[in-house]
Symmetry: D2
Subunit: 352 residues, 4 copies
């Protein structure tokens, strides 16, 4: 993906410098031809210290508002807590900035709709939600094959997001604010299903789940393993699986089944091309986290965002899907994720 960078680079300000924020900032600083990392924003001193050391002379902001006031910044890149996303996106758009925001848009449908309505009044600005799987080379390859008709009509998707078990159960603390396993994990699979199904509308959702290891989740009605069945218009079906308790690693795997064939993406979550032959048999190690699995996707996502804004300038037109998931996509993912959560709680399918 070699990109010419002859037009003026998009000047980006990254907000939030946790683990994922650091990666985004580094990508934007060094690996995205059409982008320049102009500024970073964090309330934490050590994160700003990291930026000073690791990035090429960025402007440092402790306050989001101060960064928005920086007229040299073209685009805001939000890697902040989910609960802040909606209001920070609105503020960025209001300040005349393009905006990229990590998923989810919001766990609240009304809030999602509010952001959409606001964005609709700013068609000159790009607003993208970070469903990075759409930029993973393997998912992209599968998508192109499906679009080219290689498997006939796709009518079923099975997709899973399963994390390596954290014996400390550190994530249990965040469970109450995560929206539950379907909104936190499955939302990626939902987006994949919608993408491969041509953004067909979901019509019904059912879910079941269990607590296999992390009893603390029961308090907030969450599970550490959940399955969901979502029906889409046109006789399309999706089956999702999310887990926090895998022994072998982060295992993100999707299958797209069509009338003339099927595709699997990432069946074996191999960490590399190495196979080990020893007394345990023949084996490969696995990607430990989504970070390792989607390293390239995060980079391509940033490259596509930068390219899309550059192209906007030239076209004087609104952004295309190639920039990634839109606010509308994010709204739909939230809507379906909430339906799965409700189905899990009630034991009854939810009609959408």
């Amino acid at each position: 993906m070699t990109i010419s960078a002859k037009r003026a680079p998009v000047r980006v300000g990254v907000v939030g410098l946790g683990r994922l924020g650091k990666r985004h900032a580094t990508n934007l600083a060094y690996r995205v031809p059409g982008a320049a990392l102009l500024a970073v924003c964090s309330p934490l001193d050590d994160e700003l210290a990291w930026a000073r050391d690791a990035l090429p002379e960025p402007r440092l902001y402790a306050e989001y508002d101060a960064m928005l006031a920086d007229g040299d910044i073209d685009a805001i890149w939000l890697v902040t807590p989910s609960s802040l996303h909606a209001e920070q996106i609105v503020a960025a758009l209001a300040a005349g900035k393009h905006v990229f925001c990590e998923k989810p848009l919001s766990l609240d449908v009304a809030q999602c709709e509010h952001v959409l309505a606001f964005a609709r009044e700013h068609p000159e600005l790009q607003a993208t939600i970070g469903f990075m799987r759409r930029f993973d080379p393997s998912y992209r390859d599968a998508y192109e094959k499906v679009m080219a008709g290689k498997i006939g009509r796709p009518f079923m998707i099975r997709s899973q997001t399963t994390d390596k078990n954290d014996p400390e159960g550190f994530f249990v603390r965040f469970a109450p604010n995560s929206g539950g396993i379907f909104l936190d994990c499955t939302v990626h699979d939902i987006d994949i299903a919608r993408w491969f199904f041509g953004h067909a509308r979901a019509t019904r959702a059912y879910a079941a789940g269990t607590v296999a290891l992390h009893e603390g989740l029961r308090e907030c009605g969450d599970v550490d393993n959940g399955v969901g069945v979502v029906e889409f218009e046109g006789g399309r079906l999706a089956v999702f699986y999310a887990s926090r308790t895998m022994a072998h690693g982060n295992d993100t795997h999707s299958e797209i089944i069509g009338t003339a064939g099927a595709l699997s993406v990432g069946h074996n979550p191999r960490a590399s091309r190495v196979e080990i032959y020893d007394e345990s048999g023949v084996r490969n190690e696995c990607t430990p986290t989504f970070f390792d699995r989607f390293e390239e996707a995060f980079l391509h996502e940033a490259q596509a965002f930068a390219a899309s804004i550059g192209a906007r300038g030239e076209r004087g037109a609104s952004g295309s899907e190639s920039a990634g998931a839109t606010l509308a996509d994010a709204l739909e993912a939230t809507r379906i994720g909430l339906a799965l959560r409700e189905a899990l709680e009630t034991g009854t399918p939810v009609v959408l």
Copy 2:
């Protein structure tokens, strides 16, 4: 699986000589040390002609009753249409014969219960239903690993039975009597789930499905692709998938997920150990039918049945599970399969 055959062999009569009946008869004739194929029964002349030619001098019967009257026969082996199973089992038991019967026991719960009640009065006779997957070496290997605690506590099973598409849709004709995709195909996955879950009780079932290719199924309310979610007591979950429309072959695949690891049985339905490197990439061919996939399982099943009856004689005791699925197992599989069908029809979970 070398078996000594010093005790008198079990003398078997096979009923029904369709494709599967022929295989059972040939196995019993030549490959099951403790068994002797004494007789076969079929209403069709050409099937009897085949038997005369291919088997070692079997007695030939055109009528089931006449075979039951043959006092030299120890065990009846039913490979007849499903609708006859229940009554033929009862007749065999009444005639004092052990009985092996292909699945399903019956599509009707009351009928299943009637057979169970009848069998309970004949504890000296073995009655086994042919869920052959329990005898597949790979399923058996997985089962032993699970029992040995290798994956901790198993709490989730994903299992599928998917057939290669028959472009003629020949099977559509039989759909009205098959009981639908869940009773016809998923019943095997249900039995596998129950087996791995230590015969835990199912508590709730949900299903969804679609007609991807075979429109003729709509008439009888059936689908060619269906998914089911079944909850079991103790926080255990099963997700099933059945399909009639695979492009690549018969793909029977199960995953057993535990608190300390997971097992997959048959992920890639490879036909052999051959891999082909050509312009299409690297590939392996797939087992075209369940026949090819479970060739060994059918043989081991017969060997286990024969061994079990021999052991009964010695123990003077009732048969063990090692002989295969019991009538009670078959009843439960039918009960769950019916619940999935009802859920598919109503769009509502069925409480069991």
Copy 3:
């Protein structure tokens, strides 16, 4: 491979009841339709006791000559020490018996030629050497694909026979009489190469080797890991690898490379269809020994031998290749194996 058995069965006498002899005897007794196990011969009481217990009333012989004098025996099945093969084959043919003999025919070319000359005078008798890989379903599948032109013209074969390491190094004791690693292990790969190359003539052989673990081998000039390069007429090449020191299991693997594609047989020596997902990654266990790997091949080999002798009777003609490797094949394998050993010793290629 269901075989009708309407003609009179071939009555077989098995000589040698070690581990492999027991398997052959059991196969012939219970699993080969056209064969009947009439007698066994062993100088060891406990082996005869095993036969009495495990086989269906065989005649028991302690002396080979006595067995040869038994006029009811049609075919002799030799599973004896390699050093006895040549003379026992000649004696069997002289007694008017068909003969199957485990590989190798002999480690001495002159002795091989003597047996061939003798057999040529008895064209009415079948003499087969047990290169069982030709009967493995996967090798057979590959062979048929090659013959059907699926990979164009095959010009290169890579083939390996590698055993799981025995930390006791028990085999070191037998090394002096084994003929060395190439005659003991690689001889199977040589036969496979010749088979796939249409029995083309070998023209030059080179070898190199090392002692990785078993120092005791140095005494007799043997190695525990060896590689060989053999050129065949018509610009065909074979590369062989033999090892006694694998950690993961018996790994028998062959690749056949052609002008339009390639085939691999047994790349991953998986023990079953089970994959294990745990902290070590994703893995499969491996076939521990050639016994486990070639269980089916041994059976099909016996079935083919029996079928071939039956067919001889009908045709009144000489045996076909479908019965397995001929004495001439065995002679060539020995000749090439000896050339590899000489090349290893001298560090110089040997012209054949």
Copy 4:
């Protein structure tokens, strides 16, 4: 591999802008934190035009000498025809520049030695030859596992470089100047073997080969498929395979076999994580060229070179191996490659 770039970047001039040169230039321009692409050099107008368009304002040189005279350039990056490498490296060192040069150093041992002697007089300058496989993440992973003792003592390496067949046989034209298949392709495998064997000395080389498809190669004594066996001191062995005629893609595969296990790198040259299920079975597509296979390796190689020069400045010391293969490594690879060529021509092992 995120690298801080707080020290002044290494200013690089790239020479040669063919396909591989373009990739190096683009990497250095946009993806290597510690490097700045200052200038490019090519005698071809269209290559300079490409640079003007695709790169961030590089200085453009048509003449190598003019570029060497540019005092702002710290390091020269040679992606020129092999026959120019030796003299261009010497000139770069003479001009006081660090130098990176694509493999091979030279096909002539005396010339290699001359460059080494010259470089020895300039210990303050880094000189690296581009054996990029050392920077491939999977090879790197395997290397670290071997160094950590995971497979015991490595004693055998099997490594292959096989290219997808070009039906046009375009490469045949270049064969006379390529040095033959072992110097052109196998040289990478030789470097890998030396790397994993701790740079042990090779003691003997043997080779054989065949022309499977490209008859034109016979004229210059080359082959399109060749195998080599190289013995190293300490009882270590390497077996190489090179081919120009694969149907399925570029298949670069290495196995490192040790006394306690083995590693395989790239057994299946999968192009992505996608698997396709269709009438041909289950398959994955393959990397078409070494370009696709080693995209990451080229990038990491450049990053390591830049980091190494930066570190030199700080240490005031000579470069470490972490910068990649040294001139001495390249000399040894050439020496072994020439021995394989001689062995192929003479049919006799060459003692090194």
